[in-house]
Subunit: 384 residues, 4 copies
């Protein structure tokens, strides 16, 4: 019986690992240990930890690690705070392997803790390229990891070229696509009108007409420019005035800039056609993705889940540079005119065929099986 | 005028960067900022910070970051503690570039701080391979760095294969060899007898006869085995009973195991032929290296400086696996018999010719010149 | 020349110490050192640090120390975070005396840092009694302090009874009253209409009619009850529908409960008669206090500054229990009916005569003079 | 069933609370929760945690919190580190009451954690006066505590005068005397000769002749003077050359000064009549106390346990100023001449009659009974 310890640090993080957690929980040779930390604990981000519990997972430890400020200094310090507390928690849980997801600061804290504690580290979503500080963090975590579960072939190739042992690199697809596939196959309908009215704040909109879905995050390497960046997108929305569902940004450095831009916009313009949300359950998010006329912003969902679902998407700015993408995405600059044109083109086009670039819906089971049987070698060596 | 911020975290660290500090200090377009932290601040490790000041450098900040315990958990937590404090200090100093050395936990804390704070990070001693947790840490730091100063061609090649931009990889040689070259050319003599008697504790030994120099550190990935490992070496010394100078281990996880092994040995055996030291100035160390009959243990000095100086060396165990080495090194297992045989062979052979594998003595100036003129690109991309 | 180091940790904190900072800055024998930390650095609380700078003070260091979560666990941890960073900063500044204000968690962190570092600690606002965890923290800080500047005679008596040396207890009045006196004497007018419209969000209200001023904070020992507590006050306002200026709560444990109650109220009820503010400059606050028809909530301002200004006030709940108060205050329970009745009574009554219970407007100069000349005894002893 | 959480932070700490732990463990209405932290975890201080486990207690959590450096800055920071980790651990354990002992930095960290987390705090050894920074810390902890278990009447009186509610102050005697009484009644003999030889380092001494027992710690408010202070004591020992058992100092700021003084002494003088020890089990310590010709130094044991056992004692310097003491103690300054004279006088006098100033041997049971039944009031108020 192997103990598999998974750290859930944010809402995005949770939907990227939930199918692995489920598969580990159900695997006869594995025991799941769950640590909830970072923004997963915060009301302000929708208390993801409550969803985790409602989904039937037990929380073994909670680690508050976000220092207020949302600037580069506090992001670095928050990593340090995580790294002060995670070792004690991990020591107590005594796992056989720690699984860490992607490229966030709590991911980095987890990776370093495991590295120094001589505990095998498994990493999902490694080897991908994007356009932010996350890029460097992600590759650094690859170099600290002992077993890799890249989502796509391109990502696997990059991990191997970085000198990782081929026996430790498993192209499983992305666990997030597992959820997307499940939800999309079970339920094609939109969320209920009652939900729309109860959750969120802002205009009372209808999803019976073609609607837009917007989610734009700070670009950490362009810190300080967020208010201008979001303004371009908002002014494009203002021109189109289609029913719009818009999310608040995540907690990276610069988040407050985006949020301030959104608050100012709300105070200065009539915006009855937009409804604002703090976050969605994955379930709701997939249903909205599947049914929207166009997905706008810079979240990876448009590119990754979007490829699987064939969602018409407009990707704004540099945050997703270099990430493999399907035919469903049009890339534009921070420029209201170009954003408007691209949205109009995508709304006119409608849905695209599905492309399984980032997974086929069975990543979780594959990963659990490998975790149950792989030999972990803590003394890894480069292949060159 | 660019601000170049250098973090000095240990005695090894300092001798690996001192010639760069000197060259930055003397460069007309650069301003040196020095942070002293980790074991560089501790009496127990010889208060390296006092040496730094005596050498004419000003300390801009001191960061205590070592949590007692010397086990894997506290090593991880110490990284976190450094990461909690370094960002505030770096924010205050506002450097144009941060220089970090090698692969220690304070190096990792510095790298992550710079990465999240969008400050260009320069890294020395990257791309090398060795046999410990340091290996993974070192390569992860390469992936977080924006400019690289590898010591050897092999190391540079590895950095490039990991996907770093060739324009950012400069094979300058190791700055530590600069010091070694300078000291070796100036002063061939041994330390004074008075020094031998005043410093250190243990036997009153003579360096007029052929003598041994021993320095053996914990292997972090073999945590818990240190007491046995050092015992093999000590029993070999006990067989030979040549005049011996021996260092206490560094502060990595497992240090206490090695130290305990040494203390037990001292209590159980007559050991008047060994003199124990907490640490040396680089100056003393090079003079001892240059004149010893054989260097024994697992420090990288035997391999790196040893190649330049042609010192007969016996490398024990796995800590230096994979590191490029010259003809001066014989590798043996943790086995008293093999250690004895190898020492006897090296003492009989005498000095080897110099090999400049890790530098020619001018790395510091090269690095300062590049730091003064290089364009730093904070948004780095992989080459594949 | 003595270095006097003052830590500013919040907006309330700043207005409680500003006149001391001014007097220290202007004193020929004193040198002011300012550390900005905790909520004083956060946009969400109006970035008090910018006001401090605009007022002509230089910031010597910034210490981010608030861990997100706003619950009892994160409040304790935030104290720890402050205590990890303040010692390094204080060591660097090397003050002759540290001044700390009141009873907040950053105050406690400052006090413990000074205590262990053998630096004389001066404390303002000690010896008062109130109704929260702050009570215990405040008295504990008194026991760690070497020189005391209580605001009132009652407070001084309590400090002496706790065993402090009479030579170290100086009843100077509260420095916050200095500001209040200055502002009130200079400028009786209300803020400009333009200000009202530019700042804050919510209804466009007029201050030409009698208006209410509301500020209600979480009660840390009643954690979890905040949403209900604020609901009673909000429902009372809803009944009266007078023009109202309302502040968001401070950052104590439970803050999010109060804020959530306020957000829900805004979504469910028409509230065009209320305008919401994140914070005020002291200047604005005093002008609003002086001119409002009634001050409502549980902030200490209604009791302390209120006594000096003669403001009709309704104090809700337990937060201020035991605090000395003048004739201007009516105390009520968390009960909308009682709150309504008390407000109506106070609006009908109008202003009260001034009572100098907490100071006469010259505390800052007195404190600076004492700091310049007092002999500090680090080895304090109890008087019994 | 109430959960009683006890934090064990050092060897002194453990022997001061062990009888309470035992009584809680055996009480039908109480459940013991044990946190081991600070120097209790460190090999360098004899890994007290192993003794705790050997005594039949289960460790619920381990908190590494000591930052290396042993100076005032790191002592303050270590408190912060404890305060960052204890809240998470305490939240997980969810105790009904937390018990904290005395006046060390981990005691302060525990007290603040409990205070902010609204958990009732019980305090032992409060109300006593001594001569160090511990004095202020101890009284500050009294002001944060909800229930008090002073050792002596004097101490109880002081707690009451500080404004604590008489219903919460219980003069139970000191739990450390419970152990002393038990050991002293069971076993009058000295430790075996084999023990003397196996443990410790230094001279091979005989305890058949009259011997001295020495334990001298740094005085935190006299930081920097430790090397001189210990030198006076050591030179007195050198004059007398009686068989001597000497302990290394505890981990307070200044510890390294004392240790350095001891190391220098060992290098410069023949010292075959002294044997040095890192620490003792309580059992050994009591047996040595009971049989020594004189106890020398500045530990509280000479005064507290010494009174019960009637041990002739010489108390050196200021560390114990103000502490209630019996007829067995002679106080002297840091002065080798005076120390010699006092030791000679005590050796000549021999044992004193027992005085139960600090307890009669039944404190643990009393405290457990009170913890099982007391009503805790988290909203405490001063009595004046």
């Amino acid at each position: 019986m192997r103990n598999v310890c998974i750290v859930v640090g944010s809402r995005a993080n949770y939907s990227s690992i939930k199918s692995v957690m489920r598969a580990v929980q159900q695997h006869p040779d594995l025991n799941l240990q769950t640590i909830a930390g970072a923004s997963a604990l915060l009301d302000r981000f929708g208390a993801v930890v409550d969803t985790v519990i409602a989904d039937g997972f037990e929380i073994d430890a909670r680690v508050h690690m976000i220092i207020e400020g949302e600037n580069p200094t506090t992001m670095a310090k928050s990593t340090g705070l995580g790294l002060l507390e995670l070792p004690g928690v991990i020591e107590q849980l005594n796992p056989d392997v720690v699984v860490t997801v992607g490229d966030r600061f709590e991911t980095m804290a987890t990776a370093i803790a495991a590295a120094y504690m001589n505990i095998p580290l498994a990493h999902t979503m490694g080897g991908e390229v994007s356009g932010t500080i996350d890029e460097n963090i992600r590759h650094a975590i690859t170099k600290l990891s002992h077993i890799h579960f890249p989502a796509s072939k391109d990502a696997a190739t990059r991990i191997l070229r970085m000198g990782e042992n081929p026996a430790t690199v498993h192209t499983t697809g992305c666990p997030r696509i597992d959820l997307v596939a499940e939800i999309a196959s079970e339920n094609h309908r939109l969320p209920e009108k009652a939900w729309l009215e109860y959750e969120g704040v802002g205009g009372q909109i209808s999803l019976d007409e073609p609607f837009l879905l917007v989610s734009q995050h700070p670009v950490t390497t362009e810190y300080g420019d967020g208010e201008r960046q979001i303004a371009e997108t908002l002014m494009a929305l203002q021109e189109l005035k289609m029913p719009t569902i818009m999310l608040w940004p995540n907690v990276d450095a610069g988040s407050e800039d985006i949020a301030r831009g959104m608050r100012k916009f709300r105070e200065r313009f009539e915006h009855g056609y937009i409804r604002f949300y703090k976050n969605f359950s994955v379930d709701t998010y997939v249903r909205l993705m599947k049914n929207c006329a166009c997905k706008i912003g810079n979240s990876s969902a448009a590119i990754r889940e979007g490829a699987f679902l064939g969602v018409p998407a407009v990707n704004v700015g540099t945050r997703q540079i270099g990430r493999e993408r399907g035919i469903n995405v049009i890339d534009v600059d921070y420029d209201r005119g170009k954003i408007i044109a691209a949205i109009q083109q995508q709304v006119a086009h409608g849905h695209y065929p599905s492309e399984p670039i980032y997974g086929d819906g069975h990543a979780g089971e594959r990963i659990a099986d490998i975790l149950a049987t792989a030999e972990f070698n803590i003394n890894k060596r480069m292949t060159y």
